[in-house]
């Protein structure tokens, strides 16, 4: 709904690599990593001393020109050990992630693409590996294969591989469900080239991100082993340096700092590189912070205050009056998009108003404005919305909550996603009732039961105890309608209430809405794209296009003699009056230039 308002156009030149190079997190962490790699590679050239040469005079020596970071408890040069230690750490990380990728990724590809038995077995192996505490397993490996670093890092790689396996598998399963993979299969593209052309490209990025995180884990684990003194005691490593510092911490507290910083900076760079890359790939970097949108909202509020107040002109008697409503969203580039541009309408009790339009016309935004349910990105709402004596736009959240349900209610489009999956229907209904009326749980349950009967649910007691996933879409919509009328509202706003339903269920829901409207004397607003729904239930129709109302008329008049060209086009697009298997449109049919 909101997505259609601000879909930024991107060009293919907007490539991942180029976007990555524009992301500061990626650039900085990448440079830091390059420095660490350079230090490791050039250690023999850069290190002022041998990392293992112990000089008695330099034991715990303070920093000096000869020993920029001083000497350790055995009189070895700290800077040199730090540089050589980078080699150990980076090599450890590399061995572990290569192992993890080699073990996890192919297994994940096969398991995800072929599923079946291999998937079941591999999944079980992964869960076994995940249940093994890493350090304990590495102690076993050290017991069995000795203290050299490579075997333990290979073992660690195997222990880290389930993450790669699961990631690859779930990505493949998701991609496989995409219709474009089906289309490729229909086109006769072989499974192998489907994996390479369509699947591997999608899997690659999450794998790279996971690898950078896993490399960090491996470096920390290797340091931990070295710290415990399990590992190659001759090779200089950051973990062994922490151990040395720990044993001589009173005399030279700074010794603890250097290896800690080295590990911290390297691992942090890896982690930030991973999260920066994932931001680039998922485009979450472009998402605006709510703080920024709050600031914009504050600016907009000042503007609204400065603007002359719209005075009510007509239809003062109506239950709900909307006058000159404007809604603006902030775009990523700081400009604003106006999605509702001066909309005015009114609706009275016992009346049904249809707001009709195609996607992006602003019809849902109009409905959400009335309910006060616009997302935080909607930075400016101006005009007037009045419910009898109340000026809704000036009400705070608390007062709005008070009138929601009790005076103003909402029926959403997709019934399933609009119920909390964690609670029973009964619990959710009781919650709503008790939020507005002082009733005991028992009395509220009684009310809920009566409401379910009212919306013609056959077995209300069973429904009360059911979870949303246990009932059908049509029944869920009835439940939502029951909740909407639970505190006897004056106005009911239904946003595409039947769009997600089958036609036979749609008919039942429309019949129910009409009946409730008559019995409860509701002011009903139905937002829809379906002209059949309008013809069935509405008394008056407001046609919206590009954020404006183009025509508001009695439903019979509108259908008989549409005045605005857009209304004519819309009515002309229906198929019921066209001879079968003939063209609907006039002129050249095959141009897509004006399509929304």
């Amino acid at each position: 709904m909101t997505g259609s308002t601000a879909a930024p156009v991107r060009t293919p030149s907007d490539h991942v690599v180029r976007r990555a190079l524009r992301n500061p997190t990626v650039v900085v962490s990448g440079l830091v990593l390059l420095l660490v790699v350079a230090a490791a590679v050039l250690a023999p050239l850069l290190a002022p001393h041998s990392p293992t040469e112990a000089v008695l005079d330099d034991v715990l020596a303070p920093p000096s020109a000869d020993h920029p970071l001083g000497g350790d408890s055995a009189g070895r040069d700290v800077l040199s050990r730090l540089l050589w230690g980078a080699r150990t750490s980076l090599l450890a990380g590399l061995i572990a992630i290569v192992t993890a990728v080699v073990v996890g990724v192919p297994a994940g590809l096969v398991a995800g693409y072929r599923s079946g038995r291999f998937d079941a077995v591999a999944g079980w192996v992964a869960s076994v590996l995940l249940a093994v505490p890493g350090i304990v397993a590495l102690l076993v490996v050290v017991s069995a294969f000795g203290t050299a670093m490579p075997p333990s890092m290979i073992a660690l790689g195997v222990l880290l591989s389930p993450a790669f396996f699961r990631l690859t598998r779930s990505t493949v399963v998701n991609v496989r469900a995409e219709l474009y993979v089906d289309a490729a299969r229909v086109a006769g593209i072989s499974p192998v080239s489907i994996v390479f052309r369509h699947i591997l490209s999608v899997v690659a990025t999450p794998i790279i991100i996971q690898a950078s995180l896993s490399a960090g884990v491996a470096i920390i684990v290797q340091a931990g082993l070295a710290f415990l003194g399990i590992g190659d005691s001759l090779a200089p490593s950051w973990g062994a340096m922490v151990n040395d510092a720990y044993r001589s911490n009173i005399e030279a507290p700074l010794l603890t700092l250097w290896p800690g910083l080295a590990i911290g900076i390297t691992v942090a760079a890896l982690a930030l590189l991973g999260s920066g890359l994932s931001d680039v790939v998922n485009r979450t970097d472009a998402v605006q912070s709510p703080r920024r949108s709050r600031r914009l909202a504050a600016e907009a509020a000042a503007e609204v205050a400065a603007a002359p107040k719209v005075e009510a002109r007509t239809s003062d008697e109506a239950t709900l009056v909307v006058e000159d409503l404007h809604v603006q969203y902030s775009r990523q580039d700081g400009t604003r998009a106006e999605v509702v541009k001066g909309v005015s309408f009114h609706v009275d009790r016992g009346e049904c108003l249809g707001i009709v339009g195609e996607s992006g016309s602003g019809k849902s935004q109009t409905a959400f404005s009335v309910l006060g349910l616009l997302p935080p990105e909607a930075v400016r709402v101006a005009g007037a919305i009045r419910l009898r004596e109340l000026d809704l736009l000036s009400l705070g959240e608390r007062s709005l909550n008070h009138i929601r349900s009790s005076r103003l209610a909402y029926v959403p489009q997709d019934p399933m996603s609009n119920l909390d999956p964690a609670y029973t229907i009964g619990a959710q209904m009781v919650e709503t009732i008790r939020a507005h009326e002082r009733l005991s749980r028992r009395a509220a349950t009684q009310r809920a039961r009566a409401l379910l009967e009212r919306v013609l649910i056959v077995d209300p007691d069973k429904a009360l105890g059911s979870y949303p996933h246990e009932i059908s879409g049509g029944m869920a919509q009835r439940v939502l309608i029951a909740m909407a009328i639970s505190c006897s509202p004056d106005v009911l706003i239904a946003d595409e209430p039947t769009t997600a339903l089958d036609v036979t269920v749609q008919q039942e829901v429309l019949d129910l809405l009409r009946e409730l409207q008559r019995d409860l004397d509701l002011a009903l607003v139905i937002v829809t794209h379906n002209l059949g729904v309008v013809a069935d239930i509405c008394d008056r129709v407001a046609v919206m296009k590009d954020g404006r109302l183009v025509e508001t008329r009695d439903v019979f008049d509108l259908s008989a003699a549409p005045q605005h060209p857009y209304t004519r086009e819309l009515l002309g697009s229906t198929l019921s009056n066209v001879a079968p298997r003939t063209r609907i449109g006039q002129g050249s049919p095959s141009t897509a230039t004006t399509e929304a």
Binding site: A7, V9, R10, T11, P12, E178, L179, Y180, D182, A183, A184, R185, V186, A187, G188, I189, S190, S201, V202, E358, S359, D502, V503, T504, Q506, Q507, L510, D511, H529, N530, L531, G532, V533, V534, A535, D536, C538, V555, F556, S559, L570, G572, S573, T574, L575, S576, N577, V578, P580, R581, R583, I584, G585, P589, S590, T591, A592, T593, E595, A596
Partner: protein, 276 residues
């Protein structure tokens, strides 16, 4: 429709599709059972039903995307019930698909050129010939010529559906399965895409298996219609007859429940349904 005595382009005979249930020894779920349909060359067969009726499964089974456990599919004289990948590759020249969701049916990472060229390249078309065909295809579906270098996300829903149609038409197929191909589109866009499909049919003589939940759409595009409910065909016949004069109770319910855009007629129907 002229009565043809020769074999139809597509003949589906007593088809059953069963999906194994998740988990160990849970048996299987029968999505469709003993479904038989015929699509003569150059005609449109409409398949209409509600969600879960099995209408999409029928299309997927014909395309080799659903497990057939009984019955057979004969396409253009060839038995393709359990065709392997190689046969499917050969078949793809003549049998194609347009899916409902114009967002998930195009690989977001591929340019329009790569998407449209894929079936041609797989068929061994030379690069130059493919290039020429792509320009032609864009023209047929009414997209600007500079679309080739762009990515799917730069196009609207209707335009994406035109791209999907162009991909399906790339090798001039004999049959295209349209699975809810216009259901996700706005009314005016839907009208233009339907016009496009009818135009292409008039020019190339392609046949459609048109799967939809929308009675208006099916009435508009189809020669013959089958109505599907709970995995079985409940009624079949010429489109106009099935939609205006249904005999099966389920079809009647379906027709009566589909609201029409004319308020006078719709309210008359409503009154007839609820005599007060």
């Amino acid at each position: 429709m002229p009565v043809t005595t020769k074999a139809p382009l597509l003949e589906v005979h007593e088809l059953r599709v069963e999906y194994p249930r998740a988990g160990f020894r849970r048996g299987s779920f029968v999505a469709i059972d003993s479904m038989s349909v015929r699509v003569p060359a150059g005609t449109t067969l409409g398949v209409v039903g509600e969600s879960g009726s099995g209408k999409s499964t029928l299309g997927r089974a014909i395309l080799g995307l659903a497990p057939i456990t009984h019955g057979g599919v004969i396409f253009d004289g060839r038995e393709i019930t359990h065709a392997d990948a190689r046969t499917r590759r050969a078949l793809s020249a003549d049998l194609q698909v347009v899916f409902q969701d114009p967002y998930s049916s195009l690989n977001p990472a591929m340019t329009i050129e790569a998407i449209l060229a894929e079936p041609l390249v797989a068929a061994g078309t030379s690069r130059a010939a493919a290039r020429a065909r792509l320009t032609e295809l864009l023209d047929i579906v009414g997209l600007p010529a500079d679309s080739l270098a762009r990515l799917p996300r730069e196009f609207s829903g209707g335009q994406r559906q035109r791209i999907a149609i162009a991909r399906a038409m790339a090798r001039e197929p004999k049959l295209v399965v349209c699975d809810e191909a216009v259901s996700a589109l706005d009314l005016s866009t839907q009208a233009r895409v339907l016009d496009l499909l009818l135009d292409i049919q008039a020019q190339t003589g392609v046949a459609y298996l048109f799967i939809t939940h929308d009675l208006d759409v099916v009435r508009h595009v189809s020669d013959e219609v089958v109505v599907v409910n709970r995995g079985a065909i409940v009624e079949r016949g010429p489109a106009a007859q099935v939609v205006t004069n249904p005999t099966d109770p389920y079809t009647r319910r379906l027709v009566e429940a589909s609201p029409i855009a004319d308020p006078v007629a719709q309210r008359a129907r409503r009154a007839a349904r609820h005599p007060t």
